[in-house]
């Protein structure tokens, strides 16, 4: 069938895209050999494919069923959030930046807010730090539950998906109760959190904390002695710690290879220094270790939430510095000064002294860093998010090359990339 004539310059250029350099390279690789019974197949995988966990496109070259080469192609959900952030005042950046990695919204917010707080030298009250830790760890469990459900689905275990999303709903209910929103809550604010927890929330959280380890045990009962899961995960696509470090990989993937690097322990931020928790590590860094490390992390997160709730101090939930945070609503009716502060913050926003800061925290997928440059105005001059999914994806071809295509799917699931974070 002949190609129709190009209707426009765009269509002409679209038709001019060719894979011939790749094909030539492949032919050069195989033409010299005597064995002509095999040929390489280039397969376009995604961007619309349920197993890519988003709109990731992979150009996979196969030799039979074995993966020969993988080229990840990203950018399908690039929305220019970093550019948008430069056009908004500091506190209005928070809602857009939460939408980058859409399963780790509290983490995105904290990475950004932490950088701004450093630049503006804001002191955050302890109660706010504790409330942040509680929400961060709930968010981590929520993110891992989505990972577990969808990954198990990739391996053929559909019931896991329902169980994980059942527990995830409970976390989202807790978020809705405390912040008003289920996702992208805008709960973290510069100087603290938006609101104190409502009456009855602590009780609901306590019930959740009590129930969750039991649910995790149930997941373990389903998966840990499941022959299919073990066959698919054990010993497949390992990568050692040195290679992972040279590729910039952090988070559960690095810990699965036996390197206990976790910023919560190594460089405690927020209130993490106050809590007693362990860093689960793997041994060989295969898919099973990646699975086991994340499962164990959820137990540790539950422990952190339990301690933070028990030790939640009294006091303000946001800084009392009126130049940074809005005054309480009731003051507006009686205090002219409060009204002026409110007006200045809402119309112009907070002015941050000039400077640059890179703030790194431990997200569910690894080091989540936010670089903020201030030029002294009320809008950031540059916001850059170092998203762990983006950097970790570089290791994917190293993990899956030489493996079966089915193991490539399992490895992609264990890599846990979030395309909203990759493309931003």
């Amino acid at each position: 069938m002949s190609t129709p004539p190009a209707a426009s310059e765009y269509r002409r250029r679209e038709q001019s895209i060719t894979l011939s350099p790749l094909q030539e390279q492949l032919e050069a690789g195989s033409a010299g050999g005597e064995d002509q019974t095999q040929e390489l197949l280039t397969l376009n995988f995604g961007p619309h494919h349920p197993a890519t966990h988003g709109v990731l496109r992979l150009l996979v070259t196969l030799r039979g069923e074995v993966v020969h080469d993988i080229k990840p192609i990203v950018g399908y959900v690039h929305t220019g959030i970093e550019k948008t952030a430069e056009d908004k005042s500091y506190w209005k950046v928070i809602p857009v930046i939460e939408r980058m990695d859409y399963l780790a919204y509290h983490f995105n917010a904290l990475a950004y807010i932490g950088a701004v707080e450093q630049l503006a030298e804001v002191v955050v009250p302890t109660r706010a730090e504790y409330l942040r830790v509680i929400h961060l760890e709930l968010n981590r469990i929520m993110s891992h539950l989505v990972w577990l459900g969808t990954s198990a689905l990739d391996l053929g275990a559909i019931s896991m998906f329902w169980y994980c999303f059942r527990e995830r709903e409970q976390i989202l209910d807790l978020f809705e109760f405390s912040t008003g929103q289920r996702m992208h809550t805008r709960y973290f604010q510069i100087g603290g959190v938006a609101e104190d927890i409502p009456a009855g929330w602590a009780q609901k959280l306590r019930e959740f904390v009590k129930r969750m380890p039991n649910s995790l045990d149930q997941y373990g009962d389903i998966l840990n002695s499941n022959e299919i899961v073990l066959q698919r995960l054990r010993g497949t696509c390992p990568l050692d710690s040195e290679t992972l470090l040279s590729l910039g990989v952090t988070g559960p993937l690095l810990r699965a290879a036996g390197n206990p690097w976790d910023l919560r322990k190594a460089a405690p931020y927020s209130a993490y220094a106050d809590f007693d928790f362990k860093i689960p590590v793997g041994t060989v860094g295969d898919n099973y270790d990646r699975y086991a490390v994340r499962m164990a992390e959820m137990y540790e997160s539950v422990k952190i939430i339990d301690q933070a709730l028990a030790g939640l101090p009294e006091g303000p939930y946001i800084t009392t510095d009126r130049k940074v945070a809005l005054p309480p609503r009731h003051e507006l009716a009686t205090s002219m000064e409060a009204l002026i502060h409110h007006f200045k913050l809402v119309t112009e926003g907070l002015r941050v002294p000039p400077g640059e800061y890179y703030n790194a925290i431990e997200g569910p997928r690894g080091e989540l860093g936010c670089f903020v440059r201030s030029d002294g105005s009320s809008k950031p001059a540059r916001v850059h998010m170092r998203d762990p999914s983006f950097v970790n994806l570089q290791a994917f071809s190293r993990m899956a090359e030489g493996a079966y295509i089915a193991d490539m799917i399992a490895t992609l699931a264990m890599l846990d990339p979030i395309l909203g974070g990759i493309d931003r």
Binding site: K83, L119, L247, E356, Y358, V391
Partner: protein, 178 residues
């Protein structure tokens, strides 16, 4: 972070490769000559800063040289961070890529040990700011479409105003006759 004194010591060791240091909010920044960035990173790697946490671009418009590239290095053993900053002009935005390995002292090349972690991130800086990384193995746009014109993260690049292409307006939009 190395403290302010430690940062000055590193600067002295690097000699004329280092241009300036700043120590603000407990964050150590070392500004170096653009053509020496590979040497500086190699020297810092020997000091223990062996993990490249992040690489990103900044546009310092209207200051010159306008574009900046920052390398956030991390020493995992001492839990210590240092940022290396390079500035290039927007007329000649050229930098050596730190991704590929050099050949070593006996063969060709400078024996540079590569930082494969920078691969995607250098592509992003190229895409968003137009900084060209010499010897990068695969320097293509990464987030924007490959036929896109312009570098959207530059400060003088406008927000919005781009017509959206649908099938009904494909020809007028793309050929500019709208």
């Amino acid at each position: 972070m190395p403290d302010a004194t430690g940062l000055e010591l590193i600067r002295q060791e690097l000699g004329d490769a280092a241009l300036d240091t700043s120590f603000l909010h407990e964050r150590a920044v070392l500004e170096v000559r653009a053509e020496r960035v590979r040497d500086v990173l190699a020297a810092l790697r020997l000091k223990g800063y062996a993990f490249l946490a992040s690489l990103h671009g900044v546009d310092y418009y209207p200051h010159e040289p306008r574009l900046g590239v920052l390398y956030e290095l991390l020493d995992m053993a001492r839990v210590d961070r240092i940022s290396v900053k390079v500035r290039v002009s927007s007329e000649r935005p050229l930098l050596d890529s730190i991704v590929p390995d050099g050949e070593g002292p006996d063969g060709e090349g400078d024996g540079h040990v590569g930082w494969p972690a920078a691969n995607f991130q250098e592509r992003e800086v190229y895409d968003m700011f137009g900084v060209v990384f010499r010897d990068h193995p695969d320097l293509r746009r990464i987030l924007m479409p490959e036929d896109y014109e312009g570098n959207p993260q530059r400060r003088d690049f406008p927000v919005g105003g781009e017509p959206i292409v649908f099938t009904y307006n494909e020809s007028p939009v793309l050929e500019g006759s709208e």
